[in-house]
Point group: D2
Chain length 432, copies 4
């Protein structure tokens, strides 16, 4: 835990915060006055926001890329311990990201207890485990070129199942309570795959994983319309995900990644349907303009992100029993990953805070009266509210940075890491 | 039944067919030789195709339009009896459309027995009944402006349920065995509608309709991503349709309209999933380039139509128990509706015939071996086969026209109708 | 001009405004303080916003619909003078909509001078004229079923040209300075239209209209990807619009309707390209989730609307010479059209105001340094600023309503109109 | 030249062909009879098809991949000479691919004369050169992470220009006559890039390349809506490509890649517009279901490919002067690249052959009469014609294989290469 203090000097954070303190006090007071007029207690909202957290994907702290190229940044993490350091910085400066989600085999290490302790020392716990059966590892007996859990070959399926069981085991050592299963299985040509048989094979493999889930774990099924398969995928949409989750049992639920849908699809409506079906597992937050772009959450469509949270807050408000997992899942190709992740975590927090401001009683009344204009205005009123001072105050109260990116740049963390961490992953080449 | 002969003079058809007979014989013989090389008996395929039929939507024989305008054609049917005449012509010339699907209240008449007899005399029976709760009728107590089965007002919902029950009753008098339920319910603004409550109200209303279904009937739920509602719809995709059908019971199934999906969605994959779930009700065939364009089936994407039939034929081949309903659902804005419906019925038949040509044993082997190129080639080989002579022969055998559009034009039917039927529906105006 | 006062009692507006005055003063002061910290003078921004206006489409004050149905609202305008009254109310309550855009023949009247005076008395002038060659009028010699300016028949093209010339003439009497040309021309089937010849015919007709343009007029070409034609359109995108505008000459420019693009298209980028090409005519503002949904501007994608204005403000900031026309173009199917138009005008104004807040010098620096995170944060900082008090103050200063919808509802205008204006357009039926 | 014979033993091809000879003769005769009925001389069509060729992209003979993984196949080419061998096999077996398109620096070698001779010995010449400024090479002075031709930094732009000049120089040594310029330049965040300035910088760089073009060369500009940039790209669509080509001059034209458009876009219409504007450079053929999927040409949407060729054949038929370049551009992730390229070349050839069968006089008449049904039927009649025997005969006549994939598999080429060429590029890892 002393490690936490050592990532970035708390004195630096305090000094940075001091610059903003007076303005924050004034802005917070005025926002409080505005909310009070609407019958809202800003401190009560603040407490809810303070309790909110979103997980960091371990792979997110490295620079991403496309099939055309990867352009590495300086000081990239070389292994999972470096990644935990970067995640620790994010959590130190935002206090909005208390957990990390690992990806196996990318995060394999020789001592899980050591990792758990390193994380704890940085204020971090472990969220869902992610298995990887969409790429081959050196020395792997069977290739996933033609699929994994749904492969036509039983030995390949068994290998993929085995890998998922290994992920559960590692997760148990780390205190995780969930396994996220995303497969790249699908086809690139009409006829390549027998749709129903592939789905049955997937279910058969998934059943074996499900059977090995500890009693307090969840299995989160992630659907995706395309990529890496470009004609069909085995779990292509929430309908297939739902069918699979229903087949597997109550511990299986459906994970929603905001970039995995067909164009124009109403994602907040899918969220509502999954809540109603008792099958909403949680989210991979990111933004999307064209496909699975993995852009920073809310960077292109902030209102859509708000509308998703509007569904979540409404359900919670109405006492629906559900417990969605929140995780970022982005590809940082042109920014410092730490800056993007901090900004995105705050953006997600912002959407949650704004959704808390919706006047639900008035909304119910407008909906019942089919007063569409008033109803939509009530959402807009919440969304247009600048909750920045509320979010800043939550951070300041927790010892985090009022301006996380400003403090981070002031800290020189990236420059220090660039010196300490020689480049570990190749860039340039690409896979076209 | 003598009526059938009287629609178009059989002598004219025979004379037209005589022009094509020699070429048909030569082409059929050569196709038979080609299929024999592939181990296929052309006469066996012909028998299967001859047994295939697709329903005509009664509204399809009138000219369609858009919100901008409707440009009426000459001789449009004025009432359901005129429509039955037009459908009779289609069936006489193609023998591929033995049933008609009615739409209430558009097809209301004072004597259902008379209608049934008029249809029977033209060789027609009645397929699924279609209810209409997406537009208001003169004198209607409650408006559907803000929804029908999912309306916030109980009296409006009750009225919509009642209308569906009336449709069932009419259908029973006509020998129909299914009710298709499509609603325009949804919202145009974020917040306008409470997603989960609207869905629950829909389910509650649908349950009342389901309870009234005769024992040998099906209830076919039709989803649609948008239009007339442009932010959300209550049954927006096959996932919501499936949830609803599961809730209602075994007689409820999901209808697939080819134009009701998000861009890029793989429709043949949805068909496969619904077959696997035991929930495929059937189809509204049409084609789509941009949205619910209601273009003629296969006119833009003929291979997609083939791929849908490939799933159906594969499932039948494997002994899956299912019985999909086939119906055309198109908007004929710039063509003679009778010509479009005949052409589309033949196009659907063509896709079915081509799907019957797929070498399923070889396809299974290629799929098992992950030989994607061979697998897709097997589909293409079937699709590239010009089955025109086979379809022509099926028609000739049944006394229909080898060239339906040619015979229809030669018959002067449209000109006769233009003289007999004064314009009944206004054109021009549009609803913008 | 006294008429303006008489539409809604100014005393009612004043009384309504009084309720909000104290909060507005406090909020405005605090916003001023916040902007001052960023180096912005709120009063200077206010002056720019006060000078901004967006045109109302005359057809927008009636209830819209879809091909499935139109559900009329109470008190709909019966003719262009009623429409001018409704537009007068919108302008009285918002002072953001000083012009009206007419649609011929929908707005034909017997005395244009009387209309111009009626408008002036309500504080309204006339923006672009809109021709209509996408629907047939009673008694019209040639039908537009198969096109208008690009029709294969010369007489039909001549008729369409003639109609556009008539629109210019009317516009001259009303003080308009622009003609907007949108045609429904296109095709529903591959092969129906010869693409190059149809485009040439369009250009030939457009040249004749262009030749008749008064010297100080503009011809605004509006592209659209589909609807009413569903396979191809003659001016399908900005590329074709640009080609046409280049061919015609300097007075021809390209109009951007936010709902007329393919899915996922980056509209703000098109705006930038048209500015660079010197061919940006202006906008039809609305919002879109699935297609040409004609939803209220910014109701679904407020950030996109902001990003469009960001391009406009940037170009103006850099001294680019251009003068875009701003117009709303929405279909109000489930709301009171006056409420929607007021709300949308304010939303457009909001986007403009927010774009004025962008720190352009800092943005330039971030762009030059490829600091993507800072660059995007600068846009977000402007967008997240709640400029509501600024907009309210602009209205209050101009004698309009701080809360336009609240004042409108308090005024009882709709109820009064419902009593005065018997229903004039049929609802219900639909064009399927 | 003797090399050509040595790639695959001509005796093997002859033996394979012998198996199909009798059926081919019968099928060809019958097709000839069918075409004669339509007034077409099969031998004249055959001559046109025999003269048609499509270029192979050198990178296409290697296994492709996605950002998630690449799964190498056996016997992948290690360098450009291996690639030329594989291209030689494709040409030997299909005689439809007489040219190769190189990609620099991927295809750099030490002796261009040797390469040219090696190619010539295999019956191959060189088509357009492709530059690469979308990925960094080891030792490169300036990174393309934030753009190349449009980069904010002048030195980076100069480096990118220099690279293009080097490509031209290489191309001159190889007999190429065109440079294809595709850049990955764009942005991932709103605000990251100044749209107009970036476009201006692109134009400025492109002008320098254009200035260095030999007199008989073309510069082919390739647009793309997204990827690797996911918010905006510099040449995002044909409109921007056209603007750039107009700015540069007559030797600059627009290249159409079938997968680089927004969803639903009518590509054949764009082709028609570019022909009309005198700016159609040519094509990168592939197929696409979701985005830039780089699937095999015509594998998902064969009718679309036909409709593109319909535009080309129509323009040629009407005497429009143009000379489009044809190239395949696909990513072979799950098939043997040689098999995919041969199949795709034949598919492209098939579309061309079918387009030649369209009855253009009848189509003109139907278009003039607005007989949409007949017009579209004329296209379908051509598309439904199974031209397989015609394509087979063209190959047989040229000494290629009647069944290229069958002959290729029989030849054992892949197994031989697997033994000769140790794996050269890493698989597995992926760039997420």
């Amino acid at each position: 835990m002393s490690a936490t203090q050592h990532l970035i000097d708390p004195a630096l954070i305090a000094a940075e915060n001091a610059k903003h303190a007076a303005h924050l006090a004034s802005d917070y007071a005025h926002l409080g006055e505005q909310l009070a007029r609407r019958g809202l207690d800003i401190d009560a909202v603040r407490a809810q926001v303070a309790a909110f957290g979103v997980a960091i994907p371990s792979w997110g702290v490295g620079t991403g890329g496309t099939r055309f190229a990867r352009f590495p940044g300086p000081g990239e993490p070389r292994h999972v311990f470096d990644k935990i350091d970067d995640c620790g910085v994010i959590q130190q400066l935002t206090r909005a990201t208390p957990t990390v989600s690992l990806h196996i085999p990318w995060d394999l290490c020789s001592d899980w207890r050591e990792l758990r302790e390193a994380a704890a020392a940085r204020g971090l716990a472990f969220d869902a485990m992610n298995s990887n059966t969409f790429s081959d590892q050196p020395g792997q007996a069977h290739s996933y070129k033609f699929g994994s859990l749904s492969h036509t070959d039983a030995a390949t399926r068994a290998q993929a199942v085995e890998h998922n069981l290994a992920c559960i085991e590692i997760g148990q050592q780390l205190g995780s309570k969930a396994l996220t299963v995303w497969v790249g299985d699908g086809s690139n040509f009409p006829g390549q795959q027998h749709f129903r048989r592939a789905f049955d094979r997937y279910l058969d493999s998934a059943r074996q994983i499900y059977a090995a889930l500890p009693g307090d774990w969840r299995m989160m099924l992630e659907h995706k319309i395309c990529e890496p398969a470009f004609y069909s995928t085995v779990i292509q949409d929430w309908g297939s995900s739902l069918l699979a989750a229903q087949t597997l049992g109550p511990k299986a639920q459906c994970l929603v990644d905001l970039g995995h849908h067909a164009p124009n699809v109403n994602i907040e409506l899918i969220v509502a349907r999954l809540i109603a079906a008792g099958k909403l597992a949680g989210f991979h937050f990111n933004d999307s303009k064209y496909g699975d772009d993995d852009l920073d959450a809310g960077s292109v469509s902030p209102y859509r992100l708000f509308l998703v949270f509007n569904e979540l807050v409404a359900a919670a408000h109405e006492g629906v029993a559900f417990d969605p997992a929140y995780m970022l899942d982005q590809s940082h190709n042109v920014t410092d990953p730490i800056e993007s992740l901090m900004t995105s975590a705050v953006q997600v927090q912002r959407s949650y805070a704004q959704a808390l401001l919706v006047d639900r009683a008035a909304l119910d009344a407008a909906q019942d009266a089919n007063d569409a204009l008033t109803a939509t205005h009530l959402l807009k009123a919440a969304f247009q509210t600048d909750v920045t001072p509320l979010l800043q105050r939550v951070r300041a109260d927790a010892g985090a940075a009022i301006d996380p990116v400003g403090a981070y740049r002031a800290s020189g963390w990236r420059q220090r890491m660039a010196a300490q961490r020689p480049a570990s992953r190749a860039g340039g080449g690409g896979i076209v």
